[in-house]
């Protein structure tokens, strides 16, 4: 399926808007668009009809049946036939229009920018891509998996990802030191108490577990509250999405994120408490009771 592209430039000041001019009869074969059948029928029936992604509809407050004029795209005008959702792909920010409609709107009849090719299940994407590029067509082509194509765009954000990884490591160090410091200080103050507990029959393991639990509980509570706040911010849609050339990423999260986040903080808390807990458990009873601050 050939696609006509119309989008605001990557160097544009405001949010990027992208329109794909597609074949109205076959576009659903390429991606799972969750959209009511009536909307698709309306889209097919109306020459200037368009299906818009739910994220872009939400951003601009667009509703079905409305006529939209986009100044950022040369004043192009279309009617919203329906709103679709995809399974988390960047297409949630896309506007789908008829290909001929879009070509005529920019006076580029017959010109498309991309061709989407759907493979049969089991077909080898890389071999097929190479075979296509080897074909003697009017122009030289580059065919690649959609994934590879996307990663070229996302490449732009790669450096930001590196920085964020450095910051995560730094924060883990902060937890280690903060927890280690805090637990050291509490155990030092309670040296005599530990001595007394030992005389009462508490074993070294019990002291160790007790101190570790303190660290672990504080870390766990802190981790859960922190993650809950982040989830609340995301759910309240307070954060804008991030765009790079052709791809817009909206912040969503899942169990994997929460579990990893909580796990990392708890691990940091446990590791930070480990040394002071060990020291507390190794105290000799007599020295501990005689300890003076």
């Amino acid at each position: 399926m050939p696609i006509k592209l119309l989008m605001t430039s990557c160097q544009s000041a405001s949010d990027i808007i992208a329109m794909h001019g597609v074949d109205k009869n076959t576009f659903r074969k390429f991606r799972n668009y969750d959209v009511p059948q009536e909307a698709v029928e309306a889209f097919r029936a109306d020459r200037s009809g368009a299906l818009v992604g739910n994220m872009i509809a939400r951003r601009y407050g667009w509703k079905v049946g409305r006529n939209v004029v986009l100044q950022e795209l040369d004043g192009i005008s279309f009617n919203i036939s329906g709103v679709f959702t995809t399974d988390g792909s960047a297409d949630d920010f896309l506007i789908l229009a008829g290909r001929r409609f879009l070509q005529e709107a920019v006076s580029e009849q017959g010109i498309s920018n991309r061709v989407m090719i759907r493979l049969k299940p089991g077909a080898d994407p890389d071999a097929t891509a190479r075979a296509i590029d080897a074909m003697p067509l009017a122009v030289k082509t580059v065919t690649q998996r959609e994934e590879t194509f996307m990663s070229a765009s996302i490449d732009q954000l790669r450096d930001m990802v590196t920085i964020s990884r450095i910051v995560i490591v730094v924060i883990i160090a902060v937890i280690l030191i903060a927890m280690g410091n805090a637990i050291s200080m509490t155990t030092l103050e309670r040296t005599r108490e530990f001595g007394i507990l030992r005389t009462l029959g508490f074993r070294r393991g019990a002291i160790l577990s007790m101190v570790l639990s303190e660290g672990a509980v504080q870390a766990l509570v802190g981790a859960v509250v922190g993650c809950a706040i982040v989830q609340a911010i995301i759910s309240a849609n307070l954060l804008k999405s991030v765009s790079t050339c052709g791809v817009t990423i909206t912040l969503t999260s899942g169990y994997a994120v929460w579990l990893t986040g909580v796990g990392v903080i708890c691990l940091g808390g446990l590791l930070g408490s480990a040394a002071p807990a060990w020291r507390a458990s190794r105290l000799e009873i007599v020295n501990a009771i005689a300890h003076e601050e």
Binding site: C10, A13, M160, V170, I177, E189, K240, C245
Partner: protein, 388 residues
């Protein structure tokens, strides 16, 4: 009557591990803050110097921005009729028609065939006079030749070492090999991540006959501003073009990048609060463990104010030590290259960022001691002596 400074210094040495751990905590917090701030600073300082206030950048009336715009050559005559245009030594008005295009580029001398999206600017010789901040090493490309004037930061966008884009090396894009004949700098602006080629060669390769934009230089920035007023009045300029001061045009990108700025501010605030809490924890322990000592000082005649100042001094000294270490650590990342779709830039750990780091440490030291000190000193002397 003040407590002597040596007293505070000696106290820091009483529990060396605790002091070291606290200083380390503050150091890491300041390091993270410096990293975040250098990102913002590096990016926005480049945006701030891109473009000249003496230049007007014009695209076609129907265009959306410099990349999606088509200006026919005959329309350029309207630009040359604008008042107060600067002229060069030969008397020609400083008007530069250009093409801006993003292409998938790779450095031919590098083994990996990885391509990156780089901005290509098709220019004529007069462009070097219009963009008069540009300094060339080597020579500009010749008309009609497959030659490139590479920006000083273009290798960062390409993801290759600077030597791969050195004079004499080849670059491949638009299906052709282009030879690097010169390198240019432009006062650390975003333009330094571009590749400049002869406009006529680019037009042939892209099979296009129109320009993307026109940059016109005026005799002064006031004259550029008054020329800008022609947009909005009826006339040929309003009919064919849309325009901004070059500085303003690139300044618009600041809006699109505001998320980077707000993200760094958000992170710095969070990290500052974390540092503060580390400070509070330490000073709380200091105060609680020395309740008797503090009460004794009050008996000896030192006022609450004197004791507060002494504790604040301890806290601030420790935090400043951490702050200096953290800032020094952050300096390791100075000039580290980074890229965004808008261009390449470098992290900038300049004196503003370092001062901000040290100021953060100072704040952590001051605020971290206040609450524990208040709690410690609000007890009466008797209560403090009996405190357990």
């Amino acid at each position: 009557m003040n407590l002597p400074l040596q007293y505070s210094l000696r106290n820091l040495r009483r529990r060396p591990w605790r002091s070291a751990a606290t200083a380390a905590g503050v150091a890491i917090v300041v390091f993270a803050a410096v990293l975040m701030l250098s990102l913002s600073r590096g990016l926005f300082s480049r945006l701030g110097v891109t473009g000249s206030a003496d230049n007007l950048l014009m695209i076609s009336r129907k265009g959306q921005n410099a990349m999606f715009s088509n200006i026919d050559s005959p329309e350029l005559v309207h630009v040359s009729s604008m008042p107060n245009l600067a002229v060069n030594a030969a008397g020609a008005p400083l008007i530069s028609p250009e093409i801006l295009h993003v292409s998938m580029v790779r450095a031919a001398s590098v083994e990996s065939k990885r391509k990156a999206a780089v901005s290509i600017r098709g220019v004529t010789p007069i462009a070097l006079e219009v963009h008069n901040g540009v300094r060339v090493e080597g020579r500009p490309p010749e008309k009609g030749a497959f030659e490139v004037l590479a920006g000083a930061m273009s290798h960062i966008k390409l993801g290759v070492p600077a030597s791969a884009v050195a004079i004499g090396k080849d670059i491949r894009f638009e299906g052709m090999y282009w030879r690097v004949v010169g390198k240019f700098t432009d006062n650390d602006s975003l333009i330094e991540s571009e590749l400049w080629v002869p406009e006529d060669t680019l037009m042939t390769v892209m099979r296009r006959r129109t320009h993307s934009l026109v940059v016109a230089r005026f005799t002064s920035s006031e004259n550029a501003r008054s020329a800008k007023a022609l947009f909005g009045r009826s006339g040929a300029i309003e009919k064919f073009f849309k325009g901004w001061s070059e500085r303003e045009y690139y300044g618009q990108f600041t809006e699109g990048l505001s998320w980077v700025f707000w993200l760094s501010v958000f992170m710095v605030c969070l990290v500052a609060v974390a540092g503060l809490l580390i400070g509070v924890n330490t000073m709380y322990t200091v105060v609680v463990s020395r309740m008797g000592e503090l009460a004794t000082q009050r008996i000896l005649g030192f006022s609450r104010f004197d004791i507060t100042m002494s504790l604040l001094t301890e806290s601030v000294l420790l935090a400043l030590l951490g702050g200096l270490l953290g800032s020094l650590g952050g300096m390791y990342f100075d000039d580290m290259p980074m890229k965004l779709s808008y261009g390449a830039f470098r992290l900038s750990v300049d004196w503003i960022v370092i001062s901000a780091g040290v100021a953060l440490a100072l704040l952590v030291g001051l605020l971290g001691a206040l609450l524990p000190t208040y709690k410690g000193l609000r007890l009466t002397i008797i209560e403090a002596l009996h405190y357990e």
